[in-house]
């Protein structure tokens, strides 16, 4: 049994799985149910001046019949008075003293506003604070959330104000709706943040109804952009975590968020530098019980790998994440089709023929049986055929041992520079 406890900038939790600040953490009832189900921590639904929500708040993308490939919401922060939330936080913390409760906060970008809420929340007893600089809809129109999170100076200044009074660790939650997230992450570091969390949701419009031509969702025939999350955003989030993790200026822990649906996703985020993860859409799709497999699967994985603590996994893939210019141009893989496993759907052929490098031939053997073969000298090793292949093990991308040594683009350019006149 591996040790799943984490310590993120001083915030300890029995496992790395936290519920993100979102509808699942709206109330004490929900968070307590989540802790009973096994979640290690919860970032409370963002506290601030209570808002008013619309109905028709969520929408989701289905892909090829699979529901909730992506998820979109236009819900705002808590609509309940601070006292109500604080009372429930207190009760929950009392019942679950070893679980992490982090209060997500959002107020106007004014020093006194931040000071007031930080003090009142910390007085009730929380394990940490998360500053919501990411909510992309609604609150942003009022100068909060992503609107302040997109301006590095505001990120730094507000973090600084919070740190002036905060006694617990401060996590700054970053918006992905920015060209380079490392810029705002650095601003958070400069402001004194103890950790960053990412990503918040991505500006999105879920769809358009083809009969009514209304937006999806719509509120009485009108729509507004929402925040996108769920499995579809995982690669975007993972990149942002990786970019921050490998940036030497961002030397604080990262809480990974974005499309994490199972222990494998979580392990990937942890390998790419996250000290723990936050989950929302998967819980909204399936309920709190999904954490059981997250814990079990991660534990079994660590045991199989002989890793004693999940903390030992943190960032192990970060050195492998690099710039394109540092990739070896002389590394060569080619596709090889295992005709014993291949079921002859010809998807590799047509994908290569129509959209890649025309190197998979449809042939017939002496008995008239169809088979597929890669002309390896023409194969550029793009992986497409193995991606579209529906059968595991039918196409291997095989490394071709090179007689030439490794050479990156950067090495090439610096070598030929002396010949350029």
């Amino acid at each position: 049994m591996a040790d799943l406890q984490i310590n993120l900038a001083g915030i300890k939790s029995p496992n790395p799985f936290w519920l993100a600040s979102a509808p699942p953490t709206n109330s004490g009832y929900q968070v307590q149910r989540a802790f009973e189900a096994g979640w290690g921590g919860a970032v409370w639904k963002t506290l601030g001046d209570p808002i008013i929500n619309t109905t028709a708040r969520f929408a989701a993308a289905s892909f090829n019949g699979k529901k909730v490939a992506g998820f979109n919401n236009i819900e705002l922060i808590t609509d309940r008075p601070l006292e109500v939330n604080l009372k429930e936080i207190y009760e929950t913390k009392k019942r679950f003293p070893n679980h992490a409760i982090i209060a997500s906060l959002m107020v106007e970008p004014k020093q006194e506003k931040w000071h007031e809420i930080v003090k009142r929340v910390e007085d009730i007893g929380v394990d940490g604070l998360e500053l919501n600089f990411g909510c992309p809809h609604g609150m942003a129109e009022r100068g909060m959330g992503a609107a302040s999170g997109q301006v590095p100076e505001l990120v730094e200044k507000q973090t600084y104000w919070v740190k002036e009074v905060a006694k617990t660790p401060v996590i700054v939650k970053l918006t992905p709706n920015i060209t380079d997230i490392t810029v705002t992450a650095e601003a958070a570091v400069c402001g004194g943040a103890d950790a960053v969390s990412m990503i918040n949701t991505i500006n999105s419009l879920m769809g358009v109804d083809l009969d009514s031509w209304n937006t999806v969702p719509h509120v009485a025939g009108k729509g507004a952009h929402g925040g996108y999350c769920g499995p579809a955003v995982k690669p975007i989030a993972l990149n942002m975590v990786g970019e921050c993790a490998r940036n030497p200026l961002i030397d604080i822990p990262i809480s990974g968020i974005g499309g994490i649906s199972n222990w494998k996703d979580a392990a990937e985020f942890i390998l790419m530098g996250a000290t723990g993860v936050q989950v929302c859409t998967a819980a909204m799709h399936h309920g709190f019980s999904i954490v059981e497999d997250m814990i079990d699967g991660l534990n079994n994985y660590l045991d199989e790998k002989g890793i004693a603590s999940v903390m030992d996994l943190v960032g192990k893939s970060v050195p492998k994440y690099s710039n394109w210019g540092d990739l070896d141009l002389n590394y060569k893989v080619v596709a090889r089709i295992n005709n014993d496993v291949c079921i002859n759907c010809n998807k590799c052929h047509i994908s290569c023929e129509d959209t890649s490098h025309q190197c998979i031939d449809m042939l017939k053997d002496a008995t008239g049986k169809s088979y597929l073969k890669v002309r390896e000298e023409d194969c550029v090793g793009c992986n497409l055929c193995s991606i579209v292949c529906p059968v595991d093990g039918a196409i291997d991308m095989v490394e071709i041992k090179q007689t030439l040594p490794s050479m990156t683009w950067n090495e090439r350019q610096s070598r030929i520079a002396s010949f350029m006149t």
């Binding site: 000298e377 023409d378 050479m407 090495e411 090439r412 070598r415 010949f419 350029m420």
Partner: protein, 71 residues
């Protein structure tokens, strides 16, 4: 001619100039690919300059690898 055959032709050219003792004196890259100027060894009385144009990505990679590790 397949891309691979074009590459092999370009690679053979590069190899043959190196084999004959030519050296690269200039490399120029633009929208049309890479242009490599070879010259014969310094001891020759009249230095002959030959230019080859490399069209394939593989050859543009290969010439740099040769320069980095072989010559």
């Amino acid at each position: 001619m397949s891309e691979y055959e074009t590459f092999m032709e370009e690679k053979n050219k590069i190899d043959s100039y190196f084999d004959k003792g030519y050296q690269v004196i200039s490399i120029f890259e633009n929208l049309s690919g890479t242009f490599v100027d070879f010259v014969t060894g310094e001891e020759a009385i009249e230095r002959e300059v030959v230019q080859i144009q490399l069209l394939t990505a593989e050859a543009r990679k290969y010439i740099a690898t040769k320069l980095l590790f072989v010559s």
